[in-house]
Symmetry: D3
Subunit: 165 residues, 6 copies
Amino acid sequence: MSKVAIYAGTFDPITRGHQDLIARSLTFCDRLVVAVAANSAKTPLFSSDERMALVRAAVGDDPRVDVRKLEGQLLVDFAREVGARLLIRGLRAVSDFEYEFQMALMNRHLAPIETVFMVPSLDTTYISSSIVREVARYGGEVDDLLHPAVAAALKAKIAERRAER
Amino acid sequence: MSKVAIYAGTFDPITRGHQDLIARSLTFCDRLVVAVAANSAKTPLFSSDERMALVRAAVGDDPRVDVRKLEGQLLVDFAREVGARLLIRGLRAVSDFEYEFQMALMNRHLAPIETVFMVPSLDTTYISSSIVREVARYGGEVDDLLHPAVAAALKAKIAERRAER
Amino acid sequence: MSKVAIYAGTFDPITRGHQDLIARSLTFCDRLVVAVAANSAKTPLFSSDERMALVRAAVGDDPRVDVRKLEGQLLVDFAREVGARLLIRGLRAVSDFEYEFQMALMNRHLAPIETVFMVPSLDTTYISSSIVREVARYGGEVDDLLHPAVAAALKAKIAERRAER
Amino acid sequence: MSKVAIYAGTFDPITRGHQDLIARSLTFCDRLVVAVAANSAKTPLFSSDERMALVRAAVGDDPRVDVRKLEGQLLVDFAREVGARLLIRGLRAVSDFEYEFQMALMNRHLAPIETVFMVPSLDTTYISSSIVREVARYGGEVDDLLHPAVAAALKAKIAERRAER
Amino acid sequence: MSKVAIYAGTFDPITRGHQDLIARSLTFCDRLVVAVAANSAKTPLFSSDERMALVRAAVGDDPRVDVRKLEGQLLVDFAREVGARLLIRGLRAVSDFEYEFQMALMNRHLAPIETVFMVPSLDTTYISSSIVREVARYGGEVDDLLHPAVAAALKAKIAERRAER
Amino acid sequence: MSKVAIYAGTFDPITRGHQDLIARSLTFCDRLVVAVAANSAKTPLFSSDERMALVRAAVGDDPRVDVRKLEGQLLVDFAREVGARLLIRGLRAVSDFEYEFQMALMNRHLAPIETVFMVPSLDTTYISSSIVREVARYGGEVDDLLHPAVAAALKAKIAERRAER
């Protein structure tokens, strides 16, 4: 039986840190579903369709990776639908760890699903979508933090927002 | 002289985790005042009157427990009014711990009041009001996380909100 | 060559904790630029000009300290402009530490700039601008947490806000 | 290709917490090698052969689990020998997390090997071999913390030690 | 019914930090048993009888405080003997917190006993018995960290040890 | 007046992580005294003279760096002797942070001395003297973790120890 895993997030936008984790998880999963959360507490910079397109651009056409929208349902219900019993999470910091720990326990309470945590590549530890958005907003260089297609999309989006104001 | 303690929070809504802590604190307090904070940074799902009613429903009619609204005053002033010199807090995680620590020191700076921290029951560590609200919003099962009256009220509230949209 | 350092923050308003850190950093820096961040995620209580004036009032006229506005640019670009290669940060708690760590790495990635962390004076560990604002809002005593000019400005601002409602 | 993973430790003795993690890791590994570290900084209570026998007794004869001694070599070299590219670790606490994080990075530096972290079952979070040994030493009940064969061996070992003194 | 609590430790020797916690716990306990652990992993500087005498000297003759030796039994069994159902612990740091948390859960598993954590006075946060011993060993000043009788005993003990070598 | 700082440790042996921190601290100190602690709780692999020689070899002949032995005195007394009022510490992890915090407060209590914390280079975060010694002991590659002269000395020392047994 093949092992299907889920890697869920907002991906606003996908960074080299996310790409690194996707690559690492494929060393022990047969198939990985990247679940792009449509709604989050904060209004995202990119629409959910844009975010899915950028994940696809960054991941390339690896047949083992599937990009899907997660909307209006619990992650454990989504997992049942796609046949996954494994959730992948990156752990960077202690504060991540505690929230993730609580979510892993709640998910396990709700369904027979396991969460495994991985350590991201060292040179991506300081990259998060929110910091990357802020650096780009003030004209900082983000080319080595993002896939070229994502970097271009981020610059275009910020120019567009600036023009609107 | 009887020992009066305060257990303050938003209780939006009260969970089995809160109930567990209330029961444990009664092993060394003679009277416990549950202080329901009327205003919080985020808009609560239930009104403060609803939240107080749900606390009362979950706690039952234990004469040692008193449910009160905390509104427009510092916790240390409220404590003076109800004759309490002890604050009870649950500690689940390191991040809780640090904020709580800072608040305990500030409260002690403002008034002669001590804070004691308790460890919640293991099977309630992954239960928080915010996670419970989210699980319920997407149709997940919350019956073993909440008192029956609270679970019913939460389902009704979410159905009501959905109807409004 | 003289050593210039930057101490950046929102300072809404400056507390005795901030003043303590400024004094300590002058034991090894020749000049300190206090950078008052004009825009933050949350709407500040004081305008950026008010916040700068309060920093100046609290620091006094020490010729080694310069108060500037940080607006619309990355901290590393601001640092280049003022000729600083050192950032000063206070560390109170583990959760501070992790975010600060990530920012220090990102800043170092963007420019040749080092971050050094200092331990604030013990009797200021529970003082933060947000807790001080909340204590003042409910009529608590803030005179020993703030410089007299800052305490007066905070009381006036809160009275003004109350009158507006 | 089958996925082989390693779960390494001192297992002095194996607890229900370890058993729980072994069972969970088999939901995504095809084969698991339990590596019993022969030498540790502290003198173990049980010899390495006894500890291996107790692991076998607790795990039962699951053909997917292999118990081996780890002695005189780096874990990454052992992994290469047994054909594993995945290390399994349990994460209970923040302090665990940081040491484990550092080891995961060092192992990745030494060889192409990934570490995944799992959350143990809640009702095993307070069980560690060292606490179990201490409880047993003072006559406390350990029957619900250990496999029956392990509990019996621990009581016998402690009686034997007492007789020697 | 009176509330009896236990405050257990090695007290090698008792510091002003310990004294502070004892005083604070008496604001909500009727009687406090200070349990001096006779054996610890590391060889203590003072014998258990000396450590008990120093606790008594530092605490003075408060009839609510009882000093006892804890030897050869589990803390939960000791608690049953002295009629206590409450353990008092001081929390200074996150690393304390996690170990204490695990012990609180194990003790609760073994017996109907609750642990409450308190925040020590700010000006004692950097005082621990081990740091105090090290400062005294190299001739540093410990008079403001210890009760006068304890400071005198520590200086005498260190002089005695030096003479022996 | 020139700024003198101290970087103290066991350096058993000095790693690229230590070298990185020394280089970074020279961006804001005029002179750095590397203090090699002669006695530590654990028996070091290298003698204090060997450790000092390896620090010198790794640092090269930078006139701003002075290597000294720290023996039989408090760090604050040593600092007074060498005219330093600044201590440099590397911060890698939360657990480091707490102990370091406590020591910084105690040192400040004992003398007018400040501690500043720096973030090591990312690619050295998983390097510690103890992990390096263990990797070398089992024949792992340490050439990219240590200065060539230090790597050679470590291999020689381990071969020597092996021959003695």
